[in-house]
Amino acid sequence: MDQATFIFDILIPNLGEGFLVTLALIALSAPCGLLVGMGVAAGRVYGTRPLRILAKGYVVFFKGCPLLLLLFILYFGLPSLGLPLGAFLSAVLGFIFCNSAYNSEFIRGAIHSIKEGQFTAAQALGMSRGQVIRYIIMPQAVRKAFPGIMNEFIYLIKFSSLAYMITVIELTGAGKMIATKYFMFTETFFILGLVYLVLVSVTTVAAHFIEKKYRIIAQ
């Protein structure tokens, strides 16, 4: 079998399912990672003392824990505590923990760059603290943190391949199995690399347009 036949007739048609699993991992983890990141950032800046400590602990722990180790703990460790999550859910949770910890740091920095007067003005209009955070602070903080959040999103695309290590047959896992079966490693991993490159490139271009559209017009 020549390389073209392998790539077009065997490899690509059989990567479809894994590709969808990769997309599902990202599509579930990224929005949740952003939302949790916002919550953790808000907790660290505006929370009561216990909440601030809790949020900081969250960030320290999940930033410090290697992602692969985290996935192992969730997938292999939790069942022994009577909490079997399954491979896919373990992967999604692990990605959310990791992604949100980093996102919260970008968002926290952005919150501190917003002039305090806006918080006061919103309160003077009768908004509760929660409403101020939700409608005034977060929309600005996320915009300001957007380049960092997008970086984390791109990391997430690439780190999603680690799910294979806890038996989720996503893109990399599907490719690895085909490569082993047909003994075509170079061709397979080259194509896989291209697919990730396309995903990252599309994200980068989309991020550029979103950033332009929602940019806060500055002085």
């Binding site: 003005a121 003077a124 806060i216 017009i217 500055a218």
Partner: protein, 256 residues
């Protein structure tokens, strides 16, 4: 001299210290509907703190504030509802940077008053017209001059239909040539019968718009009276000396 209505705001014995510095000492006064009171005095005498204590953005150490018969101090979560009825305008405008002028006015109508989108939009349009800025409705705060930004912030506060407006040095952050447009808007509100408390360093404006001028010094109301009384009555010596200093200071060389 127009007659003023019922008492709508009562301040009783407000005191506030920051650390060892006492900025407000036992301040009391009442405000009647349609009345404009101007607070003047040297910097650091607690004028801004007083305004912020009225709507509890700063919590006073002691004393009470009533809006009609409702206590604003110690209001608990009801404070959010009470603050809606006390519009506030800040020295630095404090517009929301990510929202256009119209959305700045709309957001509290939508999120706090829970108005329908179309009604909120209409109300925002009305208030922006009132401050002469309907053509700037789709501009962002950074695209507005200081005077325009301050007028948007006035429209934002007015949109909530407050019982009283609190102005905290509304022109102090503006270039001199931009103060006029903001002061004109505030004068218009006074003519329309809005109840207002204004902290200002614009003496000519204060004398022309105020029903009563309260001269503050060292956290106390040192002297108070109508503009006429202040300018003629010998009992208001300190206020006149203060006004004189401000006027000498702001008058350009060669003028007058």
């Amino acid at each position: 001299m127009h007659t003023k209505g019922d008492i709508i705001l009562r301040v009783e014995g407000l005191s506030k210290s920051f650390g060892s510095l006492q900025v407000l000492r036992d301040i009391s006064f009442t405000v009647r509907k349609g009345e404009t009171k101007c607070f003047i005095g040297p910097s650091g005498t607690g004028k801004s703190t007083l305004l912020r204590c009225i709507n509890q953005l700063t919590v006073p150490d002691s004393g009470r504030v009533f809006l009609f018969d409702q206590e604003v101090t110690n209001a608990g979560p009801r404070i959010n509802e009470l603050r809606q009825r006390m519009g506030m305008v800040f020295q630095n405008f404090n517009l929301f940077d990510h929202l256009t002028a119209r959305k700045n006015v709309e957001i509290a109508l939508l999120r706090v008053k829970r108005m329908e989108a179309s009604a909120a939009r209409e109300k925002a349009g009305f208030e922006l017209r009132r401050v002469g800025l309907e053509d700037k409705a789709d501009q962002y705060p950074a695209q507005l001059s200081g005077g325009q930004a301050q007028r948007v912030s006035i429209a934002r506060a007015l949109a909530m239909d407050p019982d009283v407006m609190l102005f905290d040095e509304p022109t102090s952050a503006l270039d001199p040539e931009l103060t006029g447009e903001v002061l004109e808007v505030i004068k218009g509100l006074a003519r329309d019968g809005m109840t207002m408390l204004i902290v200002t360093h614009e003496m000519g404006f204060a004398l022309s718009v105020a029903d009563e001028i309260l001269f503050m010094e060292n956290g106390q109301i040192a002297e108070r009276g109508t503009p006429e009384e202040l300018m003629t009555n010998p009992g208001f010596d300190r206020t006149r000396r203060f006004i004189g200093r401000i006027r000498d200071f702001t008058r350009a060389p060669g003028e007058g």
